[in-house]
């Protein structure tokens, strides 16, 4: 596939964009990374994702694929000869899709509330968030990765959130290590992979970004 043109429209702190960065790195696909200014979205972004106008957008030979989980599956299906993300058994595939969907439905919103709310609302968000992590720990079980012995679909869907944990912990006032040690062990294991280490921003850089956002939104 030497003549493939792959572009990723992204925003460096986005845990959704990180999924595609990791997926592309796992398959060793060369691509052009374009960081978007979300206050001033590029004509390319608006043209490639007119419905949602959001990042990330994967552009393969001029054709856009929107929504990060859909993009990860697309990458897995097109570059199928290397490092498969989904297992081959249909039931295991259904389980992987279920857990990736669970991450989408639950983690982002409760995580966001941890740094945008205060008082009772924040306490409720913290409870929710930790509960989600515990559910995910349950799904992981004793396996090294959600995919079993191999790093895969659910790991890719979830690990990007880890770059936000320092921020979640700072504002939510809790320690993930104390509440969910298995989760942290899994995250650190993933961070040892090149594809992950190179795709996730530094936690402190994310915290600085969150501080700027809180200031902008007038949250103090």
């Amino acid at each position: 596939m030497a003549n493939d043109e792959v572009i990723l429209l992204d925003f460096w702190p986005s845990m959704f964009g990180m999924r595609l960065r990791i997926a592309l790195a796992e398959k060793e696909i060369k691509y052009e990374y374009k960081d978007e200014d979300l206050r001033n979205k590029s004509p390319l972004l608006l043209q490639m994702n007119p419905i949602h106008k959001k990042i990330p957008v994967l552009i393969h030979n001029g054709k856009p694929i929107c929504e990060s989980i859909i993009g990860v599956e697309y990458i897995d299906e097109v570059w199928k000869d290397k490092a498969p993300f989904l297992p081959s058994d249909p039931y295991e595939r259904a389980q992987a899709r279920f857990w990736a969907d669970y991450v989408d439905k639950k983690l982002f919103d409760s995580g966001r509330k941890l740094w945008t709310t205060k008082g009772e609302e924040q306490e409720a968000a913290k409870k929710d968030f930790i509960e989600c992590l515990k559910v995910l720990e349950g799904a992981l079980g004793e396996k090294p990765y959600f995919g079993g012995d191999n790093f895969g679909f659910v790991d890719i869907a979830l690990i990007g959130f880890y770059s936000w944990f320092h921020s979640y912990e700072t504002y939510g006032n809790f320690s993930t290590e104390a509440e969910c040690p298995k989760f942290v062990a899994w995250a650190k294991r993933c961070m040892q992979r090149d594809s992950v280490a190179k795709s996730l921003p530094d936690q402190h850089k994310v915290l600085d970004f969150v501080k700027t956002l809180r200031h902008k939104f007038g949250i103090e």
Partner: protein
């Protein structure tokens, strides 16, 4: 070949449940339909779907699969050589089908629910407009995907047909009970014809509830939703 042990935990008015039944029909697979009663959740449901406690759940050889679109993909992948393929074969077409199915679930159906959920005139009008705008968008998608054939999937019903078509019963009920025209032949002629073809297809006919029966069930369900919204 041994008979498959297939059960669906569901309810006849649910469009999400309908998706799974259409998929099984496409593959000519027999199953036991275990009807959940509205307002209560069976032990089996709570055990099979502890995370969301929702229908549909497909139970295959005792193993549960949850979330309607995930179930449809499972059926397609587990019985690849049965009936016809539900997902398109080309990865880009698959991505497009998944994208629009996601749009339908995340944006379009909530707007349709919004038409019923309010009694207030302006809110109802706004929700109706959103639904129609969505259908105009989907008309374009239909043109691109069907390429002149009957369905989004081409000659046969596919993933996106299932994702959207399951809501046609509720769409008709909304039109009837709220006296609005949502699927308009002049605005969206392609979808208008598609809706007829979809509802008349052999894999859909027996699982699409009659509009009158659904309208009666709707009144009960909407009353409960409105009560929840105002409490």
């Amino acid at each position: 070949m041994a008979r498959n042990d297939l059960k669906i935990l569901g309810a006849w008015p649910s469009p999400y449940v309908m998706r799974t039944r259409i998929a099984l029909n496409i593959k000519s697979l027999a199953y036991d339909f275990l009807e959940e009663q509205f307002g209560t959740k069976s032990e089996l449901l709570l055990k099979s779907n502890p995370i969301y406690k929702k229908i549909p759940v497909l139970i295959h050889d005792g193993k549960p699969i949850c979330e309607s679109l995930i179930i449809v993909q499972y059926i397609d992948e587990n019985w690849t050589n049965f009936g016809h393929s539900i997902l398109p074969s080309h990865p880009y077409d698959r991505a497009i089908a998944r994208f629009w199915a996601s749009y339908i679930d995340d944006k379009w159906f909530p707007a349709l629910r919004g038409v019923a959920a309010t009694q207030e005139e302006n809110a109802k009008k706004a929700a109706t407009e959103t639904v129609i705008e969505g259908l105009v968008l989907l008309e374009d998608v239909f043109k691109n995907c069907s390429k002149g054939k009957k369905f989004f999937g081409g000659d046969k019903i596919g993933y996106l047909d299932i994702a959207l078509g399951c809501f046609l019963g509720w769409l008709k009920v909304n039109e009837k009970l709220n006296n609005v025209n949502l699927l308009d032949e002049s605005k969206t002629p392609g979808l208008y014809k598609w809706a007829e073809d979809f509802c008349g297809d052999s894999v859909v006919k027996d699982v699409m509830p009659e509009t009158d029966k659904l309208a009666q069930a709707a009144k009960v369900i909407w009353a409960k939703i409105r009560a929840q919204a105002s409490s």
